[in-house]
């Protein structure tokens, strides 16, 4: 199962969760589309400035999708607040 972590405003959308990825989801791009359709409020947060995604703690650039699989840790972060 993929482990999902949500930080900042994404925490208001969902708590952390673990789930199997649908077969049709194999890239970070697919994953964002799928979460936008299935998780209420996700799409609005993803479109906010400063929203970022990390797979196994590596930041993903939206224009350069990476593959995702069931053993990955996937994090969504809203704009950081700083220390």
């Amino acid at each position: 199962m993929a482990q999902f972590l949500f930080f900042g405003r994404f925490k208001d959308v969902s708590g952390d969760l673990a789930m199997d990825l649908p077969r049709a989801v194999s890239s970070s791009h697919d994953l964002i589309e799928w979460l936008s359709e299935t998780l209420e409020g996700f799409s609005a947060e993803w479109q906010r400035p400063g929203a970022r995604m990390a797979v196994n703690k590596e930041l993903i650039i939206e224009s350069d999708p990476v593959s995702v699989a069931d053993d990955d840790e996937i994090a969504f972060m809203s704009a950081l607040s700083g220390g």
Binding site: F7, G8, K11, K57, L80, S81, G82, G83
Partner: protein, 149 residues
């Protein structure tokens, strides 16, 4: 030089942490520290910080290593609170030690500017029934820009 980075889930004693850090130094003639405290603003009941385990530490370590590239430092200490804290509680302690004072002053200033604007923390303010997410202020971003030349 191996920076000491500590993300604390519980309250910490800045003076005790600083004394322990100072005791490890052997060559420094200057030790500059900064303690950040939760500001007791009108109506603020609590501040809650969250972090991304491993990711946040790695990012802060990167900031400390950048400081060590710019100044000859014997030691860097960064202690940062997470979780819920009340006004007047210490939230951050930064210390930089070097042979001479100027390098220690500048490094501590640099570390705080980058922590304030770039460290992966998410912060919420609680006031009565309301809760709001905080983002870096323009001032924090401008402070960081001073080091980009």
């Amino acid at each position: 030089m191996t920076p000491i980075i500590d993300i604390c889930e519980t309250p910490f004693d800045p003076e005790a942490r600083l004394a322990a850090f100072r005791n490890r130094l052997a060559q420094s003639g200057g030790l500059v520290s900064f303690t950040g405290i939760v500001r007791g603003e009108d109506g603020l009941d609590a501040l809650e910080l969250s972090h991304f385990e491993g990711f946040t530490q790695a990012h802060i370590l990167g900031i400390a290593r950048n400081a060590a590239k710019r100044w000859p430092l014997e030691g860097v200490l960064i202690v940062h609170r997470v979780g819920k804290m009340a006004p007047n509680e210490p939230i951050v302690l930064v210390a930089a030690a070097s042979k001479h004072r100027r390098e220690a002053f500048e490094a501590a200033d640099f570390l705080m500017d980058y922590l304030k604007s770039e460290a992966p923390f998410w912060k919420q303010e609680y006031s009565g029934e309301t809760r709001r997410w905080i983002e870096p202020r323009m001032r924090d971003k401008a402070d960081k820009k001073r080091w980009e030349t």
